[in-house]
Amino acid sequence: MSEVMEVSGLSAPAQALFAERGDSSELLAMRSAALSVYEQLPAPKYEKSDISRRKMDAFSLQVAPAFMPDETWKSLAQPYFEADSEHPMLVVQDGQVVYTRGTQDLERLGIRFLPIREAARQYPNDVLTRLHQAVPYDQDKWLALQAGLWNEGVYVYVPKGVICPHPLQFIHVVLEGGRGSFVHNLVVGGEQSEVTLLETYLAAQDLTDNLHIGVSEVFVGAGAKVTDGVVQDLPRHSTAVIVRRAIVERDGSMDWVLGEVGDGYTVAEVGSRLVGTGSHSTSHTVALGSGRAHADMTARMVHEAKFTESDTTARGVMQGRANAVYRGVTHILKGASGSNGQQSEKLLMMSKESRADAIPMLLIDENDVKCGHAASVGQINEEQLFYLMSRGVSEAEAKRMVVWGFLDPVLAKLPLSTMRTAVERVLERKMK
């Protein structure tokens, strides 16, 4: 049913598709410009990921037929879905909103939380002026494709001085493969505001082709505090290219928490540009790779202003034939004196066939700064296993305990207890 497009001449069918869905002419022009960049750029070469064998053309420009949502998405999302909690939630399945709650209460506070295409219609100035500002697409073919075809995702806006009382949760579910998911999230935290966004990406295990290109752009105003917690659990035949980036103003604070627990092929970057004096960002990543999972993860913190601070922590456990690369990039630009950037990447290989690389990179163009890193790749600690087993605990149980202990510093940072429990359950299931 779905038709895979040739890698050229996307503009006309894309225009038709999105015009029918109600995009403004201004937005259609932006999409066209992006798609022509897509057609001109060569595929990027990643140092540690050979993406050339992945199906990067597994998407469709046909209008997906509208469907009556059934309960299937719920069974998949159930572990992440806190039914008796009141926090606002938006669930999208195969490009269609299937569940919304709690958004009315937000309107009274002036907080906006809605699907991004709808937001582009309702608040065109606010959305279009921010779009692609934190994550420009002009140097990257896949980001340009995403900029041309983004269709799902959420827009979050919190006005100056407003503290969002609940976390906002976005759940993205793919049950039907082959169409491609182009997700764009835009978060704007006004001066002195506070908000937590939770993103969850899930897909049916039996999908044959699941292409996911996702961008999250976060604008943290002066003195504002934004937390973005992401759980990605995509199945084996998934290919995901993801960039998440925040621009943090004076004294603002951005906290990223990522749980990567899928079995797919992922190339992802997360990070913050600390452009305001005294701004601050952390990133905590926990990953479990099993099967033939491939995770190429970069955390990039760019210190552009004085007295900025960043802290990057990653913990990964690889089992089966999983393969992981963790790159931590702390970049302190000239003029960003008094800044402090710390990073730590620790990876644990549980099997002989698994592979892991930790690559810390400190790029420092200023003298008066502090910078530190710790990176390690290793096997499970034999002394710890011996100790635990010497008290009667089985080897499997002892290993499980050591792995939990290893992941704990990051798990503890997941912002919602439901989310933490859900991730723990996935880990529990996959570690058997």
Partner: protein, 262 residues
């Protein structure tokens, strides 16, 4: 069947990285008995403790070890523990992510077997009471296993686990190192509370000091990977007063360490 445990070590040889450390150790520890193994550094005492528990670094190359007739050497580390062997370690590992209380409960339930788990409330009451008798702050039950504990706190935690798990045979490997005299007394009281016909103890130490609080029935001296002298409490006192040189002289040993015995 008598419920008195019996650990029989005979002709035990063990190597680490191809180098033989234990060169034929014979020793029997029965319920109700306290044995002390003394000896200078580098004579194989800790290797004996680790080999008995099954540390993967040590390869047993000869001899046998049985507990109540069961072949310990054929068992994995956790099976040995569940059979009733306990090793209080010189350098206990730190494991984050699991609380002390939960770990001890899991270990105890692993020993009791499925269906015989100890009720949670009863367990915690007992744990708190035993922690109190070891002068451990209540907060230690919720802290991660040994994480950030001082040397002395780790030792107390080993004894806490010992008293909570109630093994049939326990080995204390240099439990006195890093303990001040008050802590030593508290730890020794904890150990002594277990003494009885159903509990046998093997204490490994450099110093006679510990043996003033945990009175041994038998004292053994280890040199060059073997037990070279055995006696009663008076042997420990003589060692404390005169050192090890007189034994070396009697045996014609110049260097008591393993390296020299090759």
């Amino acid at each position: 069947m008598s419920n008195v445990p019996e650990l029989v070590i005979s002709g035990l040889r063990a190597s680490v990285e191809g180098k033989e450390i234990l060169k034929g150790v014979d020793l029997t520890v029965r319920g109700g008995e306290v044995h002390a193994i003394m000896g200078p550094n580098g004579t194989g005492k800790s290797t004996l403790a680790s080999s008995l528990m099954g540390h993967p670094k040590y390869e047993v190359t000869g001899g046998s070890v049985t507990l109540d007739g069961a072949d310990m050497l054929a068992m994995s580390v956790d099976e040995r523990a569940r059979a009733g062997l306990f090793l209080a370690m010189q350098y206990p590992s730190e494991v984050s992510g699991v609380s002390n209380a939960n770990f001890i409960r899991m270990a105890r339930n692993a020993r009791l077997g499925e269906g015989n788990e100890v009720p949670v409330l009863k367990f915690h009451r007992e744990l708190q009471q035993k922690m109190k008798s070891l002068s451990m702050d209540a907060s230690f039950s919720e802290r991660y296993l040994n994480e950030g504990f001082s040397g002395g706190e780790k030792k107390r935690n080993e004894i806490l686990q010992l008293t909570m798990l109630e093994p049939r045979i326990a080995i204390l490997d240099e439990i006195d190192s890093g303990l001040d005299i008050d802590a030593l007394r508290i730890v020794a009281e904890g150990v002594n509370s277990l003494r009885g016909a159903e509990f046998g103890l093997l204490v490994i130490t450099h110093y006679q000091r510990l043996l003033q609080y945990i009175k041994p029935d038998f004292v053994h001296v280890m040199m060059q990977g073997r037990i070279v002298r055995s006696g009663g409490q008076e042997l420990a006192q003589k060692l404390e007063a005169q050192g090890y040189d007189w034994i070396k002289e009697e045996l014609g040993i110049v260097d008591e360490t393993i390296a020299a015995g090759v």
